[in-house]
């Protein structure tokens, strides 16, 4: 039923990205959208259009999975999960966004920051 990226996202999440009608609420409510190069609603659009460049955006790594977008989506799409799926596609190929040995002040950070970073930013 789906093609390309939308199919992969469906397999990883069970979400149908074609439900999105681009209202933009997700991007409006995202706390980190100002630093993202591709806001969440455009990410979903790019998946719909099978544009694989979306995998190179920095949005995937900045998203903190705070779930603001999911809670407010009028069509019930779990946007945080969709972005996480793109992240997983890249991580499963062995991409390491952060090198833990090079993080400054790593001894003072609360462990959950490091553990969360290990899960979200490393393959």
């Amino acid at each position: 039923m789906f093609k390309g990226l939308a199919q992969k996202v469906y397999e990883l999440t069970g979400e149908n990205v074609y439900l999105c009608f681009q209202c933009g609420i997700c991007s409006g409510t995202c706390p980190l959208v100002s630093i993202m190069d591709v806001p969440p609603n455009q990410v979903v659009r790019m998946i719909q259009l099978n544009m694989e460049d979306v995998l190179d955006s920095n949005t995937l790594w900045i998203c903190a999975s705070c779930y603001n977008c999911t809670v407010r989506c009028p069509r019930g799409i779990d946007t945080a999960r969709v972005i996480n799926a793109l992240r997983n596609i890249k991580m499963r190929k062995g991409l390491y966004v952060v090198n833990l040995r090079k993080v400054p002040e790593v001894g003072e950070m609360p462990q959950i920051a490091l553990v969360a970073a290990s899960r979200k930013l490393m393959g």
Binding site: I62, C66, N84, V115, A116, L121
Partner: protein
């Protein structure tokens, strides 16, 4: 039964100490889980992912074992991120029996998890089991004059299925603060995200977010921010340009109000007493 989470035993020890003392005052005995391991801090959202859930399930199995001996199936956490992961894994395994089977088979050295544990956050225990009336009764030093901006952070309220309150307009912390005599400032950033683990990747992102949240709290008239999660605490206290507004854990405020402020970290105690206009001991 009580699950601390890795951070509470190290960088956030004051959160644990104040919470355990407050719990004792309210008549709850929090017994630490035996041999627990790190829950994983964030949930991997891909539906076919199994290995990332194993840490959390192992903790639920420990709770199951200990729960049998204590005849109690409730697991309380203090860290909002741990609450989020444990609760979501629990709910996930209740509906996905395939995944439960796979995980049980992989963990062949542990007993099978039977989905009988109930995961609670400490605030839920205060609100539902104890009730704010009792909190009001136990308050010997109402925090009059303290204008507290409650900061929920994201993992406590979202996703809706496991949130402890309405994700758009929560009232739990406000009611709690009023019960201990403080004034709750409902500022709009209270449900925003502190940017969590981005601090590892690019510290500037976290500093910018913290600045915005603290400026908003100041603008709305608050003189202290109360948090529920050690990561929010760390992120909101990162050094930045504006003079800092103090950030404390809500249990530390409760401890002060209950008159057991001797369990608090001396710096925190000083901050709270000076804000109340009392003599600094």
């Amino acid at each position: 039964m009580y699950f601390p989470g890795c951070t509470l035993k190290t960088t956030a020890l004051n959160y644990e100490e104040s919470a355990l003392a407050v719990a004792r005052k309210m008549g709850i005995d929090l017994i630490e889980l035996d041999r627990w391991n790190c829950c994983g801090a964030v949930l991997n959202l891909a539906i076919d992912s199994v290995i990332h859930h194993i840490g959390a399930v192992r903790d639920l199995v420990r709770a199951q074992e200990m729960g049998r001996k204590l005849n109690d199936n409730r697991l309380v956490t203090l860290c909002s991120m741990c609450y989020n992961v444990l609760k979501r894994v629990n709910e996930l395994l209740k509906i996905d029996s395939e995944k439960l089977k796979t995980i049980n088979e992989f963990m062949d050295e542990e007993e099978n998890y039977e989905c009988g544990i109930e995961v609670l956050h400490f605030i839920e225990v205060v609100r539902d089991l104890i009730g704010f009336e009792k909190v009001r009764e136990l308050t010997v030093k109402p925090l009059n004059g303290l204008k507290v901006a409650p900061f929920y952070g994201c993992t406590l309220l979202r996703p809706k299925e496991i949130g402890i309150d309405n994700p758009e307009n929560p009232t739990t912390l406000e009611n709690l603060l009023e019960a201990i005599g403080a004034e709750a400032i409902k500022f709009p950033h209270r449900i925003k995200c502190c940017s969590a683990y981005n601090v590892v990747y690019d510290k500037k992102i976290a500093v910018d977010r913290a600045l915005e949240i603290r400026k908003a709290a100041n603008r709305w008239g608050a003189n202290v921010i109360a948090t529920t999660c050690p990561l929010c605490q760390y992120n909101l206290t990162l050094p930045s340009r504006r003079p800092s507004i103090p950030v404390v854990y809500f249990t530390e405020l409760m401890a002060y109000a209950f008159g057991i402020e001797n369990v608090l970290n001396p710096e925190v105690r000083k901050v709270i007493s000076s804000l109340l206009g009392e003599d600094v001991k």
